[in-house]
Symmetry: C2
Subunit: 378 residues, 2 copies
């Protein structure tokens, strides 16, 4: 069945919306945060914790990483990524563009596509829009992202304009290949195009209009949170969301802090992903409903209170700040696991709260109370 | 309440026994394997997995590590290790001797005790029998081990004889201090003495007799599995167990492979600990009921069968060999977690099976079938 989006509530005071995305692997309640499962595993998190404790409704896989390891032959033999990693809820794959274009010095970009060397063994590979569509078909995520060029955040106008043209050419080639091919595993796959254009208003408008004209089942905003000031990011989101169709989900790629997410929800974004909860979790930086904690700080050494008094996850109900501090100081694996689960559960709690407040009609008031609290350093 | 041991079944064909150790934190069904929780955390394992999936009945903490981090002040502030790490079943602490005597070059041994430098920050510390008893009181494990010298496995006879005298002198000092002090947290603590003597029969006999004369609530055999041939280890265990009281639990320290454990059970050992299941699990070496697997081997890349078809743990029912292989190859944290949980659950399954076969009366037959299977490389 095609991916569909029921827009259930529009916040009267902001552009925030609450909806449900229907996929062949189940429903996704928006706004939603998608934990990143780079190689098909959300780092440090057992599948049942992801399902039952974090309550992830959709996770993200990285095409670049999955293509290199385990490779499409293994993924096809398994019957797709869902069967391979055992996660039977919706999944989304990025296109590998972001990773490939981060491989500065070991990649060559041309109109046809991009040649690059594996970060693992230096072997040569070539990604074109067609190749990436084929790989994403092999992976079998419910939502496939178009292959785009991700220019650096600091790209000058001329570079950004040429890059955008390439991204748009590639989008047409992605759509053609996508339409010529079928899902491999018996369930529907969607293709989401990506709006680029750096921080140039005219390019963002042009890109949003081009993307909107494709009438895709959902649309994404890429190339933000790459170093530009936060208010510029918000300005770009607002501009693009004014153009993207209202009746399709909007996915803001790679963003961000809890405060970023609430602001972007208020600007009409429905879907988010970011490595921050897991990466920061591994690095002892925890997000809580009262602010952020650096768990390595010795002030927690004898604090026998829960990690987050309002924490919803198993780890919040099980471990104390003192114990977790000790685990980080002792470089115990368990610290990374606890931090990752806590942070992901917090992110999922936050978007559920946002959704509840949108439905209740007091989203703006709640958001304005929350943003300064979330950014506080405890 | 004092620690007591109900000896329930004696295998008629071997010296294997099945029993129950009663402690203030609950019962331990023997023979039992104790997962090692070095700094108060079993590496890579969440508390609920330890409780409900691995079914650990008792875990071990390392006095040396806990003394350095988090330190006795924090442990006392928490109300003891049980409250600190949240594990409310029985725990045992070693005496730190093994770790301190491994710090060759940064420790000085004399009759009074042993001065050493922390492996963390180089700070100077002094462990004496009295000091170690005080630390183990602060930690608050149900079973405290006596402070002993652990000579190298290759120690010549003269060194071994002197070392044993020191260990015996220290045992008397441990017992005195133990008897002069009270548990800090309202439940009983036991002190287990340790038989040493390297691989010298006369020293092992002398030590076993000396230890037996102390009438402790349980007794331990130390200084084995440190490089000697396996049959010499078994010879020493048999010799010592012929002398140690039959009505008290016997703990073989730091042993070993699944086959070692079954052989030692047949020689009358009741309790085991070893880092092997967790260390090997982190290193992609899995123990199964059909033999050992090196999960990095590319032969598993497309094997979509369970890790262990007879595996009892959640991870066996959730993940395939192909997926776990991929996680190890990709150096994912989750691989270490899955490997550790699987191996620990396997060790606990193995001792439960041993116990069931002792009770059923067919332990020897079962053990003789199992030992070659367990040692097979798949």
């Amino acid at each position: 069945m095609p991916l569909t989006f029921d827009l259930q509530h529009n916040d009267p005071q902001t552009s925030a919306r609450a909806g449900v995305i229907h996929t062949d692997h189940g429903d996704i309640h928006t706004p939603i945060f998608m934990p990143v499962g780079t190689v098909g595993s959300v780092k440090g998190v057992q599948l049942r914790d992801l399902n039952d404790d974090i309550n992830a409704e959709i996770i993200l896989g990285n095409t670049y990483h999955l293509y290199l390891r385990p490779g499409t032959a293994t993924l096809e033999a398994a019957g797709g990524l869902h069967k391979f990693n055992g996660f039977d809820r919706p999944m989304l794959t990025d296109s590998g563009g972001f990773q490939v274009f981060s491989l500065t010095g070991i990649r060559k970009l041309r109109e046809e596509g991009c040649e690059f060397r594996s970060h693992i063994d230096g072997s040569k590979h070539f990604f074109s829009p067609e190749r990436v569509m084929d790989i994403e078909r092999s992976i079998g995520a419910d939502i496939m992202m178009a292959f785009d060029e991700c220019p650096p955040g600091t790209a000058p106008y001329d570079y950004a304009r040429k890059s955008l043209q390439l991204t748009h050419n590639w989008l047409d080639r992605c759509i053609n290949r996508f339409n010529e091919t079928q899902p491999r595993y018996g369930y529907h796959q969607s293709l989401f195009p990506i709006v680029q254009g750096c921080t140039y208003r005219d390019l963002r408008i042009e890109s949003a209009e081009f993307v909107a004209s494709k009438n895709a089942e959902g649309n994404a905003i890429g190339g933000l949170a790459v170093g530009e000031p936060t208010d510029v990011m918000y300005e770009m989101i607002e501009l693009v969301n004014g153009i993207l169709p209202k009746d399709r989900p909007r996915y803001l790629m790679g963003v961000g802090t809890p405060a970023n997410i609430l602001e972007a929800i208020s600007l009409g974004v429905d879907m988010f992903d970011c490595v921050m909860p897991t990466r920061n979790g591994r690095n002892a930086m925890l997000f809580t409903s009262e602010g952020t904690l650096n768990m390595r700080n010795s002030k927690w050494a004898n604090d026998f209170s829960p990690i987050d008094p309002y924490g919803t996850s198993y780890v919040d109900q099980t471990y104390t700040r003192a114990y977790l501090h000790h685990l980080y100081k002792s470089q115990e694996l368990l610290a990374l696991q606890i931090g990752s689960i806590h942070n992901l559960a917090f992110y999922l709690w936050l978007v559920r709260q946002a959704r509840a407040h949108i439905i209740a009609g007091d989203f703006r008031t709640w958001k304005e109370q929350m943003v300064p609290v979330l950014s506080r350093r405890l």
